[in-house]
Amino acid sequence: MTAAADQIAEDAMRGLARPRTRKRGSRFTSDLSVNEFLPVCEAGFRPLGMVLGSSVYHVGVQLGRWSENQELEVLSTAMSRARELAMARMRKDARGLGADGVVGVRLDIEFREFGENVAEFTAVGTAVKGDQPRRWRTHTGNPFTSYLSGQDFFTLVKAGYAPVGMVMGSCVYHVAHQRFRQVLGTLGRNAEIPQLTDALYDARELAIGRMQAEASALRAEGVVGVRLLSLPHRWGGHTTEFFVIGTAVKPLRADHTITTPRLVLPLVD
């Protein structure tokens, strides 16, 4: 072990001691952590550069009816439109680098002090190039996007699947306030409140439906790594954004197999 370790140190120091010349434009920048960077490289992808896009967006004002369950379309549209603007800029950045895909994408929303109801939508990822030209692009010839971490991306590719794109659905929903008589009816009792259950069901269904529609448009076989989030943002207790995001995938070959994992017990906590 020590001899091998010393050899690595010796090689590394030799590498750092020799004068280095490289042609311009062949250097990369990666937004991945070391734990993500190494599996992505081993999956046969070469990082090209960090890509990002953002949009500062004024989200309109829409009030729900006090006692009614309803989607607030103005807000739903704003959330999807602004995210799409940020994503489109990131994809344009990636196309400029000649990338086959963007991995480890992060989507953030931050309400900044630029004004009331103004939020910044950001998409950041790492553009990569695959081992075979054009194999990894989507059917429209665009680079794919993946919401998976580097480790999950590696596992997916090794299992014979390719990501085709990030898919998402958003629904901003106003959950009705309870009328006084309704509150009184269930006060102190163990009972379901059907009106609220229905509201949450509806909102999630709308968001998931939109995500599925996006996945079929990409001709995906399925969606993996789906996360369903309830984001209250700044709209108070009764208005919530139901946001669902995942990565649409397609099989690379018909006979893909998944390696049987070995079991380990890590000694860390």
Binding site: I8, A12, L32, H58, P266
Partner: protein, 280 residues
Amino acid sequence: MPELPPAVVERRNRAARSGVRTSLLSVPSAAGIEAVGLEPVGEVMGCAVRSAPRRHPMPYSGRRWEVMRQHGKYYDAYSRPYLDGMRTGYNSVLARIRREAKTLGADGIVGVQLTRTALDGGNEFVAMGTAVRARSKVRPTSLFTTELAGSDVAKLMLAGWAPMRLQWAAAAHAIDTHYNTLIIGTRNSLRASNFELDAHTKLINDVRADARQEFDRMTEAAHADGGIVSDLTLSTWEPGEGVTAAIAVVCGTAVARFRRTDSAPADTLTVMPLWRRGEC
């Protein structure tokens, strides 16, 4: 400050006399760097307290219409003093930590933490890390520095990559925002509608792009093969009435490929941990 401060010289002499090697490494990091032939030689620090850069370089003066007509143009006179203050602060502490590590005969510094604390009327910039020396006959041309933890350095080196240099890159711009504020504030019909704020969007996209470009230029100048970004931050402030400024910071390590052969023990094992955070 051309010489090392007396406190540092004293600490170095004391360490030399006692032979004790201190480090800031966690146990996994200490084991990690051992596996790639690096030994800790001592913890090192660079510190500088500097007066706070002025965030309001000049009062806002009339000719508002003139300024409004030019909206979209950058008013960097507002943001530059702040950016320059940050850059000088971080660069000086990075230079100091390198100088201290050099006197210990180190080949590099791992796990460098850069922090800034606001003090009364100033800022304290601190860089702390662990100086390491390689069990090697060859010495690098210049000391390597990285903010990556020892365990990450070990993983990189096992896969044939060596860290070269910690890079702190930033960009800042300022815009006039009277125009935007007027739009949102005065027209009620617009309050209800969805629209993108062009000037702010351009400001934010540009500062991020410029910071990233500076990072790329630094990677190029270091003759590295690539850069691994560990932190990308953006903050905004108002340096004057009706002026919005944004600063973007990209921090990461330039890396060099020293071995491309398959012999690097980097085979990934598909394992399923029998423990997971949050599960018993």
